[in-house]
């Protein structure tokens, strides 16, 4: 890669990031010249290195560091990290971006230092992100996945890239389709009078609620997370709810995956990207269903818990700082493990296809007593 010198003046954020990269490279260089052993320090990216304070509302890093000392075993990772930093510097300087996949392909020019599979390059990218405490968008890297789908009483104000003019996107005007959350949402503005945001786990359920215009009836915004919400999706919901002061309700399956991989990530962030959680989570989200008690109350058809679900439950009770803070969740998990059953959102269809809109959601929204924190 030849560095593309840009004539444009870089903004402060970009300049700061480049300084971080140069500083790190310079440190390595000087240590080598002085015959000292270079090191790189990364915060440990796992649940064991986060704390949870319900008042703050998100996972914070505890500050445990992993030190990578340059030696025979780490030299490959060192070389790759430096190469990746160089790529990032080029991207920022040229005001360009690369997807994670593209970055992986760029590495194919690095001879022996190239990545064999994309997860390897993703890990190095995450390392750099954590080392500098910036998000990957600032480094010029963007994720592949879509941010989520939005429908309902919302107008998103975006900018036209070329003219710089504002564009107003009315999320009620997509018919049976939906507005797609972009990978970067910092520049968006919102106009809405909706009463709440409903964050839905499956696109199947989103489709049903959208098609039948549930947002009209309930005066709300529907967002499909499509599984574990992406950073962009979390950030979008966070900014929207903060700026417009509207509550966020999560509507997911009633199983361990939905509780801890989807809902908990939405609300407090993940262990893996704890250095970014402050901005990429929605602390005021509440879990309205499907709760283990719903399975009983609504006599939902169930599937037996798998071994991995039980393991996940036990692990959460023991190690998840979020669960440890919330008695209600502990009870819910124990109830579910005891019953040995789980239920999907779509199990509500047992009582009729539109039961979810006509009965379940209106019921649940009447009172927060049946929700989980």
């Amino acid at each position: 890669m030849t560095p593309k010198k840009t004539t444009k003046k870089l903004d402060k954020v970009s300049k700061d990031t480049i300084n971080l990269i140069d500083g790190s490279a310079k440190d390595t260089y000087e240590k080598i010249i002085k015959n000292k052993t270079p090191e790189m320090n990364f915060p440990i990216r796992s649940l064991s290195n986060v704390k949870y304070d319900p008042k703050k509302g998100f996972f914070e890093l505890l500050g445990k560091l992993k030190t990578r000392t340059l030696n025979v075993n780490t030299i490959k990772a060192f070389a790759q990290t430096l190469r990746m930093m160089k790529l990032s510097k080029d991207l920022i300087s040229a005001e360009d971006i690369a997807t994670k996949r593209e970055a992986y392909y760029v590495s194919k020019n690095w001879g022996d230092a190239r990545f064999k599979e994309q997860p390897e390059s993703d890990t190095v990218m995450d390392d750099i992100e954590a080392m500098f405490g910036v998000n990957r968008e600032k480094l010029g890297f963007i994720p592949e996945e879509k941010g989520g789908a939005v429908a309902g009483k919302l107008v998103v104000v975006d900018k036209d890239k070329d003219s710089g003019k504002e564009i107003k996107i009315d999320c009620t005007k997509f018919g049976s389709g939906a507005y797609s959350v972009p990978t970067s949402v910092e520049h968006l503005k919102f106009e809405t009078k909706a009463k709440f945001i409903l964050a839905i786990e499956t696109s199947g359920m989103f489709e049903r609620l959208n098609k039948h215009g549930y947002w009209k009836k309930a005066n709300c915004i529907l967002i499909s997370m499509g599984g574990v919400p992406t950073r962009a999706c979390r950030r979008f919901i966070r900014r929207l709810s903060d700026e417009k002061k509207i509550p966020v309700y999560a509507f997911c399956d009633g199983d361990m995956y939905a509780f801890f991989n989807i809902y908990r990530t939405l609300k407090v962030g993940s262990g893996n990207a704890a250095h970014l959680n402050e901005y990429f989570c929605v602390p005021k989200a509440r879990f309205i269903g499907i709760t283990p008690q719903d399975i009983v109350d609504y006599k939902l058809p169930t599937h037996p818990l798998k071994d991995i679900d039980v393991k996940r439950a036990k692990d959460a009770l023991k190690n998840d700082p979020f669960v440890k803070q919330h008695k209600a969740w502990q009870k819910a998990i124990q109830q579910q493990v005891k019953s040995g059953q789980r239920a999907e959102q779509q199990a509500l269809a047992k009582w009729g296809l539109n039961y979810v809109m006509d009965k379940y959601l209106p019921d649940k929204l009447k009172s927060d007593k049946t929700w989980l924190p």
């Binding site: 390595t28 260089y29 052993t37 025979v72 060192f78 430096l82 160089k86 690095w110 230092a113």
Partner: protein, 528 residues
Amino acid sequence: MVTKSSKNETNAERLAKEQKAISVSQFFERNRHLLGFDNPLKALSTTIKELVDNALDACQEITVLPEILVQIQEKDKKNGRYVIIVEDNGPGIVKEQIPKVFAKLLYGSKFSKMKQSRGQQGIGVSASVLYGQLTTGKSSKITSKTGKNKPAHFYELHIDINHNEPEIIQDKIIEWSVKDHGTRVEIELEGKYQRGRLSVEEYVRQTAISNPHAQITFIAPDNEVTKYKRVTEVLPKEPKEIKPHPYGVELGVLIRMFKATKAKTLQHFFTTEFSRVSPQVVKEICKKSGVPPTTKTQTINHQEASKIFEAIKSTKIMAPPTNCLSPITEEILLKGLKKEVSAEFYTSTTRPPTVYRGMPFQIECGFAYGGDLKADELAKVMRFANRVPLQYMQSACAISKSTLQTAWKNYGLSQSKGALPSAPIVIAVHIASVWVPFTSESKEAIAHYPEIIKEIKLAIQECGRKLGVYLRRKKRDAETERKKSYIIKYIPHVGDALQEILEITDTQKEKVQKLLKAKFESPPEEQK
């Protein structure tokens, strides 16, 4: 119960008419499997095995370096007719003895001797002659010469099965000038020839491993000649004959010995017929059994014999002498393995002699690892008893049991539960003893005496430790090598990336690479 029959003859009398002594030869005719002639394949290899064992033993007796020819001629492949020829440069056999040695079962000098030798019962060679006769009707041909200026005798022999006596078909003096002394045996028999693990080739190859002082020429039915070279001029130490140790004698044997001894009194009997029996020990045995030392041996009855037998068991007697054994030795076993197994690492060990049931024995073990051996197969176990390879009944043998019970993972080999290690390895185990305890007369598997199994395991473990050291060093070397290649691979990338980010000069970059290289190539303790 006796009931009268119609002809005034008791059943017992009638049965008595049918009862008669059967000769050993008749017994063998019906029970050939007991001696290793179960099927044509085995019969052929057993015959060769018996002849080669005898040839090697014969050479050893006159301390001559053995030169042995083994040939298989195909007479009639369809009906499985073969002629087996084995020729040695041993002492030869005196004329009068030739018919008995080859055509009378259970005739030999080795049977009652307490001495380490390949053959033991004097049954093998004549059994082969008998087998040949039974399956082909042909007589066996023996040529023997005892010295340079002595005539060579040629015999054609048959066995008189009813009387277990030799039947001489032809007896003449022939011209046999190729050697000064030696014996040549030709037996025609029904057999099956094939290659593989249980083949004659494998037997001869293993014999060459345990007898590296022998020169063996093997001629296969297709006339392909294989020469197994001599790699040492050192002859095995001649084993010494020892007297039995009281612990190794059973009651019946003891009674027989009382009858056969020339000693007049019990005191005299014990001190002359046994090893390790001092007057003090005789005193103790006599006291415990209540039979006085002055008792005449000929008058000792069964009851007294039993008491003496019990007294022996409870008396502490020094272990038998062990200098009677002739191990292959660590060094020679190593030579044997090296010449016949192409591998990268060899090791061997000879355990100190020890004793089971009053019988001295000694265990040796050798490994050949890696090289041309196949990595994805199970280990090959070679079993030897008094230098004779054992090919059949592997699973019933104490050597196999000990091998299976060894924790090979400790030595860096992978092993599934209850199986041989899965590795490119040949494991050779040798037991030398004045009396090797086989599980059957066909001498194919060693009985499971705890003392023997323990010694085998110790020998395997000794070799295992040496193999483990080798494998760990090999792994470490490979690791160092891998690291070196790593350094060469990735240092330039660190240099390039730093140059591109910091825009340093080529000279600076080269300095970075040089310093890193120096850093990694220095020994680890200097790093940090």
